[in-house]
Assembly symmetry: C6
Homo-oligomer: 77 residues x 6
């Protein structure tokens, strides 16, 4: 897991969004290190509306960071 | 879903707000990939005040990003 | 609802705050399109302390955006 | 309530913090307009640890805005 | 409590973090003014994982503000 | 615990992320000082999907701060 995040720079906003999703998931991996437990917990959030909204909130915070790091991809249109 | 987000730049704040709504929904799609499950969960949040407020919170975070990307549309009046 | 948000610029911080309240409500309208359902849900949050605090959190996020858009109204005193 | 917020500029960080508290409360007043209901709800949050933490979260978001508006009072020491 | 917060400037990031903790607590003091009630509520959050995470979230928001006020202590190494 | 945080500057985004995790945990240590209690609470959040998402939210906020402090590591690719 050493250098799983070499940069916040992405070619497009779509890729930046995917990076935000990855950033959101990584904190969960680092807090619950057992993949079997994480797999067992998956339906608890993937089939629960409020949990999904909470996941989306975390992604939103990370996307803000990634977007700013990329100067909002202003000329990426 | 490859390049669903080519840019954060929008013509008006209203369009930027709609983009924020789209950004909030996308994390849910990426976490719960099954459209049937998402459809089943819809009343859980669309008819629940607290869930709707949580959705609004996610939109607010994304709108902040989109607004900053557009330099707050300062001359779009 | 086409161009309900022509600008984030307001004359005063008070007006900016009202705009933040409007921005918070709009995501709920866009997620729950039925005015009758929204009306039915109103007591669920308007008479619940935690829900009101959550509403206030969303307003705070939007107010940050509006305030930055207005360069914090530094000479509006 | 017309111009209850003439400016975000305060003389000191302490006053800025008080303004943040005021900003957090105002959204509740604007959502629940009846002072009697607000008074009735008061023990629900003032005697509940999680509610108090949620209030503190809203104040933190507003304080960020006020602090930035005041350029973080860098020479206010 | 008049000028309990003369400045956001701290010598080190560690001190800035402690200030963020103080800022998080102050909103609770200002909302629940009775020290006896606050003392009674303490086990409700200090022995509850979710409450502790919520406290940490508030500290994170304040730390962001303090860190920015200190220009992220870029030369404090 | 005196100077546990000498700087927010890290060599890479990955290290910055680890620092964000550390920052998230520190508020919990400072609020619940007893290591035995913290250990007892661990399964409450490490085996609960919603708690893990909340932890991730706190990390996201701190990561935003660390990333900005490092000017988003723009040339770290």
């Amino acid at each position: 897991m050493d250098n799983w995040l070499p940069t916040l720079i992405t070619a497009t906003p779509s890729e930046g969004y995917d990076l935000a999703v990855k950033l959101a998931r990584m904190a969960i991996k680092k807090t619950q290190g057992d993949p079997a437990v994480r797999e067992r917990l998956r339906p608890d959030y993937a089939e629960n509306a409020d949990s999904l909204i909470s996941v989306s909130a975390v992604v939103a915070t990370h996307f803000a960071t990634v977007a700013a790091a990329n100067a909002y991809w202003r000329d990426a249109r």
